[in-house]
Amino acid sequence: MTQYLIRRLLISIPLFFGITLIVYGIYALAPGDPLTAILGRDKMALMSPAQIEKMRHDFGFDQPVIVRYAIWLGSALHGDLGYPTTGSKSVLENLQERLGPTLLLMAVSLVLALLFGIPMGIIMALKQYSAIDYILTVIAFANLSIPSFFLGLGMIYIFSLKLNWLPTFGMSTVGDPFSWGDLARHLVMPSMILGIFNAGVWARYTRSSMLEVMHADYVTVARAKGLQERVVIFRHAFRNALLPLITIVSQSLPGLLGGAVITETIFQWPGMGMLSWRATINRDYAVLMGVTLISALMILTSNLIADLAYAWADPRIKYD
């Protein structure tokens, strides 16, 4: 197992650099002039060709892509991810500041999704074709299909404006000292939005997976042995149904980071999603590459966690 872990970690290194190279290349291939995007048409219209060239040089846009990547990588390896095109904070400081709120939002939404999604899936499988199965199926599909932007605004309208139960946006109440209670109140709506979507997906997968194993011979044998139904379901059926779920959940982790772009923007949650959205609009490549680094790390880490979880869930899986 240890050997496997080391081998996977070593493989992750070139994979990690490969991801950054490809993403850097894609950014460079994007049509249009990044300098125009940064400065704006009006400003550039006032500048002489010499001034424009100087600015192009200042931003490094006059270098070949591979040279720019090499310079960026060299600096990144020394912990210098550069500066955004505007602002007083470096890219690294921006990432440090944003990572915490995003991880918090992800963690809470993940817990919510697991708490709602998996039990929903199990109930749906156990009560197949019953009224409750249909109701939960409708709920699961509704979770999946309602756009988070629409759902977010709807929730704000009802829970903040009409009922005044929850704050409208932000991570804390302006002017108030920090408190966990205040943070929790601000977390409710964005984490629900993210959690609801994943709960819907995971409920459907859990249902299918459970239905498959519930008809397996070993479940029939367990029942024939006279085991309690609870034990049959959770020890024999659910554990075997977990394998595809582990894959789905682990693949959702990096997606939560990306999926949080819309949710963070609606609720003004100061996380990575909002940072990457702004950077995309402004074509701020330094920031985008910083976000890419984090995303790549998350993908590699979640894949590794998934592999380890397979071994935990299914003793037949060996990594030697």
Partner: protein, 621 residues
Amino acid sequence: MRRSIGWIVLVSLIVGAVGLYGCGATPTPEVKTVEKVVTQLVEKQVTTLVEKEKIVQQTVVVQQTTIVEKEKQVAVTVTPVVKGPTPTTRQAGGTLNVWQPNGWPEQAWHLLSNWESGWAISPMMEQLFFNKPDGTLEPMLGESVTASADGLKWTLKLRKNVKWTDGQLFKAEDVIYGLMARYSPDNKPQVELRNGRLIQGLKDYVDGKAPDIAGIKAIDDNTIEFTLTGKDATMYSLWFGSIIPLPKHAISSIPFKDLGKDKYWITNPVSTGPFKFVKYVTDQYIEYDRNPDYWDQKPRPDKLFMRISNPQVAIISLQKGDLDYMYPIDLTEIARLKTDPKIDILLAENKGQWFGLERNYYTKNGIWRNPKAIQGFLYGIDRQAYVDSILQGYGTVRNSFYDGTPYACPTLVKYNYDVEKAKALWAEVAMPKDKVISIMSWTGNKLRMDFLPIAQAAIQKLGYKSEADIIDNSLITDYVNGKGPRAKDWDFHVLLFGPGADPGTPESFVDPTSAANMGYRSWPEEPAANGKKSPGWVYDNPKMTDLFKQGREESDPKKRIAIYQQIDCIWNVEFPAYMFASPGFVLAKSTRLQGVDWPTNASIGQWTMMYRPGDWWLSSK
């Protein structure tokens, strides 16, 4: 059977949920179509300081705007709106919450490059002057500006006894330091030299050839002299109206090359404005406290929060009472918000910018060289319909570059919608029957993009085909340089432009190689080998070029008005670029917020800056 029960339960639940939602919603109000045309009177609240703490307030009508509020075709929910009498006693205390849409991208004062950043610093930072629409200056930190008889020496007097928030006196050296920081060659990216090009030594400083700006000298702590190499009337409007002083004593230890990225701007910037910085919580809010030592009358609110959120959520916050001030606002929301008893909608005419069409000056379709082709196009587009539908009635049709300003042609020709006239004019200029007219707009402004279908419908009515392109910001250069989907054969692109702070702005439409130090320069930059305008340039009128030169050199505001009126009369017929409508400035605010002089705020060309926020106050009612 079990399946049937399941479906019955499911349908019952859905019906129940819908019913519950209906019960919880506001009862359906009476809806009827109101057809009214209201001429909006802009009221300016004039305050007179009687005692230190007591204000007598009177309301006088100072201007009748041309903004026409049209609610034709709009189904208005008729709900009695009780907003109560306007409070008249200026109250102290309270927390003012204003909206900030896109965070605080650029925190360094000397590198301001977008309006959101200007907005963020406007409660604490002060300019020397505000530009007034008549070309005069309203003193803030500056007291006066005078030009010598030959126009080559300008003397700036500063307000005395103004203090920075750290107790240090505001001096001439702060103004000069602000200019040196702004134009420092160490800035990356370097700030373009736009205004004040004729100031002696400024270009050498910008190019890194001189350590100081030779033409700027402090005579004493409150007087600065500017020496020019040639006459430049825009010094008055563009230069002195845009200077941002910086506290030299607080930041001189930071090299210019590091100043833009220094944490000073988000930790403890000292300022002279009515509010002082407390803290910035990234993408959440900026907090300010009242500046107790403010040089003008004491600001009223104890605190000010600039709260960052997306526009849809901000509207909900405004309705909820979490925000007091919201600009800009989606015009389609105005009719709904007007019925809210806790919200005031303030209108102001936009005299500084409008939507218009810039030609492809290098197009092979020489047809647009003929003014009658443009005039026909103007007659053919129902611009009032654009105002009524896209601008929701909050705007004004424009017929020339200076229409609505003191520089407008006294005998302005109005091109009211008339399809037959349009057809006749296009027949007269022999518009080719197979001509496909292409119009481009770029992203970022919905009102601009929404002009495309209106124009296309008009072109179709005139019997021609059209193509419309919506282009990303970063692709504009390629497009106008003939590398887009239309190659070099595109016809127009939609612009939001206008005279802004100085009437000389459109000079570059007339001559792309002009030495004008302001305004738009049309693309592509392809001057002929002799450095003069390209022979392909679609517009040429030596009289216009000469008039713009006169306007640039004339420092007397009254004489400038006469010059630009002549320009406007030519523009109104020949249209080097043509305009269709200006969007009105619409502000949504809470009824508790008082003292906002929105018409002036909008008229000074600084609608994205707070105009005298120290005069704002919060009613407890």
